[in-house]
């Protein structure tokens, strides 16, 4: 992986940090001069990934969430959201649109669908009892286009 620049942000799994994560990503991406739509897409995908960790990873307790943003060659953005929480027993089922284990919080079950739709690539690795890592990539349009 050809990394031109990167940033790592670690936060407690408090819902108030969902906007902080978006702000960190937005600030980092200024150097790439993304379009308004590209920035919206990435901010939304990050918000979904971090919210998933806040709601599901530590279930009633607070743990740490690690957000890594990398600028790769050819204007590709790499984002990793990692927790050391309870993990997802069935990742395939969790990625089905409208699947939710938190209906009482009015979670729509569309988090992974949004990530998948707004980014170019999405991968989810999870080990029950050890945690979950979400990796997303998106290539920005070349400068001048």
């Amino acid at each position: 992986m050809d990394v031109l620049n990167s940033i790592k942000f670690t936060m407690p799994s408090l819902s108030v940090n969902e906007s902080a994560a978006r702000a960190v990503v937005s600030s980092f991406l200024i150097q790439c001069d993304p379009t308004v739509e590209e920035l919206s897409d990435i901010r939304t995908a990050v918000s979904e990934a971090v919210t998933n960790a806040v709601v599901h990873a530590y279930r009633g307790t607070v743990g740490m969430i690690e957000l890594t943003v990398r600028l790769l060659k050819d204007r590709e953005i790499y984002i990793r959201v990692k927790d050391k929480g309870c993990g997802i027993p069935d990742v395939k089922a969790a990625m089905v649109p409208l699947y939710t284990t938190a209906p009482e919080e009015e979670r729509s079950g569309l988090g992974f669908s949004v990530m998948d739709s707004f980014m170019d690539r999405l991968s989810v690795r999870s080990v029950p009892g050890k945690g979950t890592t979400v990796i997303m990539r998106k290539r920005l349009t070349p400068h001048g286009n």
């Binding site: 978006r22 919206s40 979904e48 806040v54 709601v55 009015e106 979670r107 729509s108 988090g111």
Partner: protein
């Protein structure tokens, strides 16, 4: 996030401004539910014109309020969503449940 509700003879408009995420959606939910249950409007329009960010938490907020409005004998619609927010709404197929104008 701010919720400003105006009622005109049973037709209500809730202007929501700021960012809708999982954290902020809770207070909007409480405020809107209190209004729906106490004022019992026939029609409630959620105006998203002042929204600067919305993720899928907004879908849960809208679907939940639509359900509550139906239970109270009313109808919900969503107004003034920017194109980017419409993309999020479309992913959920929300236009099949709620009128989007």
């Amino acid at each position: 996030m701010k919720v400003d509700i105006k009622n005109d003879n049973g037709r209500a408009v809730a202007m929501i401004s700021g960012e809708i995420d999982h954290h902020n959606a809770r207070s909007a939910r409480t405020e809107l539910d209190h209004y729906i249950v106490t004022a019992q409007p026939r029609e409630l329009a959620i105006d998203l014109g002042g929204i600067t960010f919305m993720d899928s938490s907004g879908i849960g907020l809208i679907m939940g309020r639509s359900k509550l409005m139906k239970e109270c004998g009313g109808r919900l619609e969503v107004r003034n969503a920017q194109p980017y927010i419409k993309r999020v709404l479309k992913l959920a197929g929300i236009e099949r449940i709620v009128k989007i104008t």
